[in-house]
Subunit: 289 residues, 2 copies
């Protein structure tokens, strides 16, 4: 049981975690912290949180679990703000989509509390944001990756694992750099491609007509380009090195495809598409909800 | 009313059209033609067609409407095979995703019957194929683009328009090259990107693990990479010129994104993503089914 859970950033991710833990009876009191007064009032109204504060240092007082669920770019400042105020037994975790820079920031900002910081990343979300978009089952059948470092206390890791499992998630542990490389491949690169595709089409003459004729495949393919531009520019910058490597790797494959088409090599295209379909067909379908 | 509808190629597209016209009471008899005996038997069993034939010239005898719904690469040969056998009043149409080469093939193969050939393209489909995947409502709230040429008889165009509207579609007319350029942008390019992305990841060390952690966004983004490799290599080759132009255009945008990231230009990324999100958010959602 968590006695006082402090969630800093009550949006889709933080709000859904609070809802999930309440639904599971895994938390007594939820303190919500955020910069926007309106969103906090809405979170109180929706009963996602019990108490609210706009000051991170005040919000964490007395909390035994602190979840930093703000925008990635804001995380270092939030960590610096809470460092002097967190309790000696409080556990701190985050939800950032890229881990290396968050870990570096936590190490320098949290000081001796760093051993109770557990870097985390729930692989869940929608293209919506804000507390109104949050729901208790967001993490059901989704993975949460925790990336402990040598300093991380085993007890802190166990506690955060327990929390996410109580929220319905499956927890996996992974090395920080491995996480960042893998997410660059499966999430960050696809977002870059979706944004680049829509940007490319939007800049064409007659783009309004183009979007009118876009069929279902296009809609699915570009849905992620509706994600928060602020969040994704943060993620891209935070995971810059791994993402640049992935972009280069993608360029090589893309050029092979271009060359096959340009040189009228139907078989090369067919072979590439056949391999890709076989790989894609192995991806497990999401569990029915 | 269509008296004898001959559908050559009873897969997702041809089968769904036959089902839709039967459901609408818009056809008396459906003759199905295909190379695969098993699929034809299944189409008879499912009551999608009334009669079957594996010979296109036999199948079109007596038909007042002929729909060529075979693979794009097979269309020229099918047109050559039916040319001597189609009735003097029969109307012929197709469903190819790229139109210029089909129109050229029809002009040279159909001879004097070419004036009753109406090039068509239903913007509908799923990543599945075969008659078992077909369903009567596939075309509801979907667009069908017809690309008549100067030789096309107005009566033939009206008749094909009527047929698709009876199947539940909204029909639009468009110039052949305009169609091919637009589809290269909204459909063919996204398919190339999805195939290239999956091919790129599948070739990486640890690709099994990568696909395990792929979340919902990745699934949506790459769903179209499960489409038929044969069909998509056909489409890419058939619409090669327009697609190469689009690939070049995409490369330019992709390089802008890469450069912004490489030079640590967070604002450039944020601006690009913001424009893309605004454009994507304007894409109308599919009508509820």
């Amino acid at each position: 049981m968590i006695h006082r859970l402090c969630v800093i950033g009550i949006g889709l991710i933080g709000g859904s975690l609070a809802r999930a833990l309440r639904t599971a009876g895994a938390v007594e009191t939820v303190i919500g912290c955020g910069r926007g007064e309106e969103n906090l009032l809405r979170a109180l109204e929706l009963n996602v949180i019990d108490e609210s504060s706009r000051n991170p240092a005040t919000a964490v007082a007395g909390a035994d679990m602190v979840v930093v669920a703000t925008a990635l770019a804001a995380t270092p400042n939030v960590l610096a703000a809470i460092a002097p105020a967190i309790g000696a037994d409080a556990i701190v975790t985050d939800v950032g989509s890229a881990k290396r820079r968050v870990v570096e920031a936590a190490r320098s900002r949290l000081g001796e509390n760093f051993s109770r910081f557990v870097p985390g990343h729930p692989i869940a979300g929608t293209e919506k944001s804000g507390v109104d978009a949050s729901f208790a089952s967001l993490y059901h059948d989704h993975r949460v990756i925790l990336t402990p470092v040598p300093e991380t206390e085993a007890a802190a890791l166990r506690r955060v694992t327990w929390m996410w499992e109580a929220a319905g998630a499956t927890v996996t542990e992974m090395d920080v750099d491995h996480h960042d490389n893998m997410l660059a491949a499966t999430s960050h690169l696809p977002h870059m491609l979706a944004y680049a595709l829509v940007e490319c089409l939007a800049g064409m003459e007659g783009s309004d007509e183009i979007f009118t004729y876009a069929a279902g495949g296009f809609r699915d393919f570009t849905r992620i380009a509706s994600s928060s531009p602020q969040m994704w520019s943060d993620i891209a910058m935070d995971n810059r090195d791994a993402l640049l490597s992935m972009l280069e790797r993608f360029t090589a494959t893309y050029e092979q495809l271009y060359d096959a088409l340009e040189s009228n090599d139907r078989n090369a295209l067919l072979e590439m598409f056949t391999r890709a379909k076989a790989a894609r067909d192995k991806v497990s379908l999401p569990a029915a909800k």
